[in-house]
């Protein structure tokens, strides 16, 4: 290598280093802005959350790798479940903005729609269950609540409607959106869903919402859900409705472990015996096992449980009836 070419090579290396340095600076600046937006999204509520989310979205797809990386890291750290959920939603906004937006355009909570329905109540579950790749929006709706949902303007109600009726309907719309998101989360197959649902089961603001979350938690088929739901079902300090909803969740979980848990509940806990036996009917559904592509496994597990349920003694008429139904389902 002669001197001239040596100089040229050194120059190219310097230039490359300079460019790399500039690029790194730019990347770290982007990451800093992303981190800032994510930090605010994690802690902010209502309009402030929406502002932070818009800030993140404005950064465009370039922000996605960093957000994705942060999500992967947070998702593997149980204590960071809340941050992980926000990050999963953020990934959704950066990768599928149109589908995510659909979560905020629900026909079923528009007065102009639901007031014409056969029962004039807002409903959101069906639409929220059909979000597809926009499902991560459910996480933020559950975490941030109704404050981030763009409900219809007051002018959307009939002018003749009394103010107190509008207020009542608005409350129902809010309830429908949040409860609908909780319920839809159960079937959304999102990594953060079990953690978010666990939180709602524990801290939800109404028993009905906690019930919905318990059922949805079972529906996630998360491995740890069996233990969580069993704990709730056996906790005498919890409302009976919630304990029974936990058994329903176990029925929807539909694994060997959840079947065994239901059997134990039916055997040992008279309070939830009937509910546990009813849940076994759900658990046993051959159509569901077929849909999972596990027909043979389902058949084997049903056979196994059938003998044990048949040997159970029941504590009341409700449980006896539930046992008959469960046995019929398990024998299919």
């Amino acid at each position: 290598m002669n001197r001239a070419s040596n100089l040229m090579t050194r120059g190219a290396l310097l230039l490359a280093a300079l460019l790399l340095s500039t690029s790194s600076l730019a990347a770290s600046a982007l990451e800093a802005r992303v981190d800032g937006a994510l930090e605010r999204m994690t802690h902010a509520e209502g309009a402030a959350y929406l502002d932070a989310r818009e800030e993140l979205r404005a950064l465009g797809e370039a922000a996605l790798p960093h957000v994705q990386a942060r999500f992967e890291k947070a998702a593997s750290t149980p204590t960071l479940w809340r941050e992980a959920a926000v990050l999963e939603a953020a990934v959704g906004w950066l990768s599928h903005p149109k589908e995510m937006s659909a979560a905020y355009e629900l026909e079923g909570v528009q007065p102009s729609t639901y007031l014409h329905a056969r029962i004039a109540k807002p409903m959101a579950v069906r639409e929220l269950s059909r979000l597809g790749v926009g499902a991560p929006a459910l996480l933020e709706v559950v975490l941030k609540g109704e404050a981030i949902y763009p409900f219809a303007a007051a002018t959307a109600y009939p002018t003749s409607m009394p103010a107190d009726e509008r207020t009542r309907l608005r409350a129902l719309e809010q309830e429908a959106v949040v409860a609908g998101a909780v319920k839809a989360l159960g079937g959304a197959r999102l990594r953060s869903a079990p953690s978010v649902l666990r939180d709602v089961v524990r801290n939800g603001k109404s028993t009905a919402l906690r019930q919905t979350a318990a059922m949805a938690l079972g529906q996630t088929r998360d491995v740890d859900a069996v233990q969580d739901l069993t704990a709730i079902a056996t906790d005498a300090a919890q409302p009976l409705a919630l304990r029974e909803a936990a058994t329903v969740g176990l029925g929807m979980h539909r694994t060997k472990a959840s079947g065994a848990a239901l059997l134990v509940l039916a055997r040992n806990d008279a309070t939830v015996q009937g509910a546990a036996l009813r849940a076994l009917t759900t658990w046993a559904s051959p159509w569901a096992w077929d849909a999972r592509g596990a027909s043979d496994e389902g058949a084997a597990l049903r056979k196994e449980l059938h003998a044990q349920v048949a040997a159970l003694s029941t504590s009341n008429a409700d449980a006896t009836q539930a046992r008959e139904r469960a046995l019929a389902a398990l024998s299919r």
Binding site: A117, M123, V125, A241, A245, G251, A275, T282, W287, A291
Partner: protein
Amino acid sequence: MVRDVDRFGVLAVLLGVAACGEGVPNLSEAASVAQALEAPRTANIVVDTTRDGVIDGRDDVDEDAFTAERGAVLLANVDDDDGDGQRDGREPSLTHADDVLDLAPAIVRQVTGLKAGDAVRVRVTPSAAAARVRIFQLQDDMAKRLFEPGDTAGVLPVDVVAAGDVSLLVEGVSGRSTEWDGNLQLTVEIVNGGTVVSRDTASMRAAPVIFPDNLNSPRALFVQDIRTGQDNNTAFLRSLRAEMPEGVALRTHDGDRYDRDRWVQDSMETGYQLAPSVQGTQELPTYLLTSRPRPLMDLLPKELLGKDLGYIYTGGDDSSHNYGGNLEVAPPYETRTASFPFGRLLVGGGSQGTLLGVRNTEHMAAEQLAWLNAQDAQGPALELSSEWLAVGHIDEIFQFVPDRPSAARGGRAFKVVIASPQLARSTLVAHQRAGNGSSVVFRSRRTQTTVSTILNDEDLMAFNDLAQERIDGVQAVLTRALGLDASDFLEVPVLFEDAGGGGLDMAVALNPGIQNLVTLVTGEEGRLFVPDPSGPANASGRDVWQEATRASLADLDLDVVFVDVFNSYHLLLGEAHCGTNVEREPYAQAWWSLQ
């Protein structure tokens, strides 16, 4: 000879018009004959005991008991002959000539030999009847109020009774109810001081309101006309107009006038009262206004109420279990232990909870259900599990349809078209196995999906497995109660999905509920307007769910017309039956003949 006094004659007297032809009353002649027949100071009241629409000497026998053969009938005067927006029975006076036709005539025979201190009074017993009856006395071409609801007695002027027969008109202010079984004793007494000198009693009974079933010939179909918006029902109306059987009136009402409330099935249940008349029977179409505080609650009292169309309102809470879609009538049937010649009322409700096993209890409002049973004609109503449905109506599960070929063979005259998740699923499974898993279901609709997406959805399939189990339970109850067997049920493919609801998992139809069809079968034409299920297409381009439906209904020998209700009704939680209502002919048999 005693001249007949029929209702038209009474009308002529009431209004002082010159009636012509036979049947015009001549009270003075009647009175003179009566005078010759009655002993002095003898009370005698005569009603249309023979149920031929006239009052004559034959009525004055065995008049104190109401039996299958004898006893006068009273209608609840709940129509609005003068068109003032008020039900006539709620008005204290007769305001229109036609109103008289809805009242039952009675005659107090002339009393001779009355003494000083004698009084002639008319009483109504029991007190439950007295609280619901008004009596007019016809005098000098006028109808005077003689007895008001709640009165103890009405006093007839002695000079009038002494001068001749006195014509009365008995008005049912309201009909049978939980407080009153419709039985009524009309008594005339001659009293002096505290002593009853003479007394005579005649029995009457208020007509029940009877609800026809889907086998009865249709007269008119009600539907709202909603022309704008993505949920307009233009396509549905177009099909109805094009395929309406001859002789059936299509009665549309402006949807905008009722804030686009389209659920005309829910706001009312069409029925009738029947009384004897000179022509044979007199029908007063009488609908039940259901407890449903929505815009269409005004349709019946403000638009349909009129001459010869009345209504009853029982009150109740605002549960959707009160709506008309949750009240169906099984066609007449008989089992070893029971007979229901006017069919049987079926309602939805129950305590079995949701499909996934959450506790939930729902019933029709006690007031409304009790009133239905108090009609004592089509009850007791049979409750079938519908508490697992978001709307909660039995028309989301089944409908009765005529089976004329079977009837012609001497077999059962009806079939039950019942929703079947099993059939819906098996049809899709067959389609998938034929390599069509990616076939589109609900093409171009907001809920568009594919065959495989449906079949691979574990939660959806479990939900439908449970729905099928619940429907099987409904079928079992119907089978036992109506004496049916499996061949009496025609399954049509319907899937359900979970619509949530306050910690519950309430079900709604995923595809348009095919069983929620409209049955219009006249003497000549038989047509079923069936919700188009919008299923996947087979190799020939035919909808596999439609094909399964046609196969299921084939033996009925009825035209199957698929109607588009997807955006206009289905997405709003209802289908074709929910969006329509049908007034039908009464049963051929008169209710009093089966007392």
